[in-house]
């Protein structure tokens, strides 16, 4: 298979991507340097042939540029894991100087919550950082920062110029009522882990993910929001965030 190689930068970490389809590079926008490299360096990240076959089998769609862009998130995250960063399946909201992650499986209400927030609170200086798959990186101080990525989700929501310290994580679960509580540590450790992207082919990748998750669990609150998707559930999150940050914003 012939690949075209590009230098990329995700969360301040350099990653060299090898792409089969030239059109795929366009989807990365400013995250890749404009011109392809003349040679593929050692350690370049490529979507493996097996992943394309799985995609075609599972979706019935051809493994073209769209597939390559979507599949590249796994290999890119594995490359970032070797540099203390990774990609997580979550929507990221900037509010009160911090990033708040809404983490959940597809179709569980991440976009609904972001949409509610922007509709209900249009004037409070909150911004959508990334609608689907932001980059997380561990700082030298052992804290976690949320960074933009080209994978913005179906709505294309994202602000590629915005990086912020992680403030907290909200694990979303659909339900018939709206209820927010600090997440049970025993269960949320496994649930949050399933939100990290990796091909999960090596023990090192699992250790890398567990290391980043540990930093999250030790430094920020994790809530579980059972929700109907309505405005009231978004209000619960906002209330919890404001309480969490009230020492920084004593006048509300």
């Amino acid at each position: 298979m012939k690949y075209i190689y590009y230098s990329g930068c995700f969360g301040g970490r350099a990653v060299c991507l090898g792409l089969r389809h030239p059109e795929t590079a366009v989807r990365f926008g400013g995250f890749l340097d404009t011109g392809p490299l003349t040679e593929g360096p050692a350690g370049a990240v490529c979507v493996p042939e097996e992943a394309f076959r799985e995609w075609e089998r599972d979706t019935g769609l051809p493994g073209g540029a769209s597939a390559e862009f979507n599949l590249a998130v796994y290999s890119t995250s594995d490359a970032l894991l070797r540099q203390g960063a990774c990609i997580i399946h979550a929507a990221a909201l900037y509010y009160r100087g911090r990033a708040w992650l809404f983490a959940a499986e597809s179709g569980t209400g991440k976009s609904t919550q972001l949409g509610n927030w922007m509709r209900l609170y249009p004037d409070d200086a909150s911004r959508i950082m990334n609608g689907d798959k932001p980059v997380l990186r561990v700082t030298e101080k052992g804290t976690v920062e949320v960074c933009p990525s080209p994978w913005r989700g179906k709505e294309g929501w994202g602000d590629d110029g915005l990086t912020a310290p992680l403030g907290g994580v909200i694990l979303l679960r659909q339900g018939r009522e709206d209820r927010l509580a600090k997440a049970d540590r025993f269960r949320s450790a496994a649930r949050l882990l399933s939100c990290f992207f990796s091909r999960y082919e090596t023990e090192d990748s699992i250790r890398g993910i567990c290391g980043i998750e540990e930093k999250i669990l030790r430094t920020v609150p994790v809530w579980e929001l059972v929700n109907t998707g309505g405005s009231a559930s978004t209000g619960l999150i906002r209330g919890a965030i404001e309480k969490e940050t009230e020492s920084d914003f004593p006048q509300g």
Binding site: E105, S106, R185, F186, R187, A189, A190, R191, L193, S194, F196, F197, S198, R199, Y200, E201, T202, E203, I206, R207, C210, E213, E214, L217, R218
Partner: protein
């Protein structure tokens, strides 16, 4: 002799022990499952090559269990491991496929 899958990794995250499945184990085992510390000890001891008698001895020594209690805990672990398809059964069978977890 208990035999555990090689494609499941035991890791500790913020004090919680997790069994995490590598890609080849998906579809057979849970993607990630929290386990109590005594099960984590058993998992590690088995991975280190200890047999059942050595594991029950370790449980008794570390936890102050009676021999009967240690055997009961080990038996419960084996039942749970079998249910979640973590055991490699005799003849190489590793249990019937169970539900996987999206990663």
């Amino acid at each position: 002799m208990i035999s555990l899958r090689d494609d499941v990794v035991l890791e500790k995250v913020d004090g919680i022990w997790l069994l995490v499945a590598l890609r080849p184990a998906w579809g057979a085992c849970p993607f990630a499952m929290p386990v109590i510390p005594v099960y984590a000890d058993i998992w590690q001891a088995v991975k280190d090559g200890r047999d059942e008698e050595e594991v029950t001895g370790m449980l008794a020594e570390r936890n102050g269990f009676t021999a009967e209690k240690a055997e009961h805990v080990l038996s419960s672990f084996i039942t749970s491991a079998r249910k979640n398809h973590y055991l490699v059964e005799e003849g190489g069978r590793d249990g019937e496929a169970g539900p996987g977890t999206e990663a």
